[in-house]
């Protein structure tokens, strides 16, 4: 899944929540439950992988 697809997936996941919020504001409906789930941080995992890659490519490693 490329970045564009990931962002689209995230957007689609958020849209139903926005509809609930809209109903809540305009129609005095119930307060939406399960407010926007906050997606788990992805950049930490990628940063740790990059550190490993960089360490393996450092001069003197694996030679």
């Amino acid at each position: 899944m490329n970045t564009a697809e990931k962002i689209l997936t995230t957007t689609v996941a958020i849209l139903p929540f926005i509809e609930k919020v809209s109903a809540y504001i305009h129609d005095d409906g119930p307060e939406p439950e399960g407010l926007s789930q906050i997606p788990a941080l992805k950049s930490r995992v990628e940063l740790e992988k990059l550190k490993l890659r960089s360490a393996q490519r450092a001069p003197g490693v694996g030679t």
Binding site: I7, T10, I18, V21, S22, E33, S36, S43, L47
Partner: protein
């Protein structure tokens, strides 16, 4: 893709504007300014989550695409990721507060923490001459509605 994100941000802002409009009318619904502030918190939270997701997705993609990095690049990325972690933790507390838990939370202070952390991520990207994801500014503007 940009259109979709623009739609998301505009819907969030439109919800706030429309809600504010209800205050001015003299209908029987008689919403007060306090009602508007009360209800602005959700779109603001949504804007903060959108900014967080955009910055995190872009950072993750950028880091994944790098075959290796210099110690300076890693240090700069570490700083940005730590700030994203600060924002993530604060958003978690805000979400609990919005759900009715942790009612003693200084919600505005916590939102300030989120916005400040994400602002610093944006500043860090600009300092490194890296691209800032589109619509982050709009999303942060929505978040600032609650400050």
């Amino acid at each position: 893709m940009k259109t979709i994100w623009a739609l998301v941000i505009l819907m969030t802002l439109a919800m706030f504007v429309n809600t504010a409009g209800l205050v001015g009318c003299s209908s029987s619904s008689a919403k007060t300014a306090a009602d508007v502030i009360e209800k602005a918190k959700v779109p603001a939270f949504n804007g903060a989550v959108a900014a967080f997701v955009l910055l995190d997705e872009a950072e993750a993609h950028r880091l994944a695409a790098m075959p290796s990095a210099t110690p300076e690049q890693i240090a700069a990325a570490e700083q940005r990721v730590r700030r994203l972690e600060v924002a993530e933790a604060a958003l978690g507390e805000l979400r609990q507060w919005l759900s009715g838990e942790n009612k003693d939370l200084d919600a505005r202070g916590k939102m300030r923490e989120v916005v400040d952390a994400l602002d610093l991520v944006v500043k860090g990207l600009k300092n490194e001459k890296l691209a800032v994801p589109t619509h982050v500014d709009e999303a942060l503007s929505a978040a600032r509605l609650f400050l």
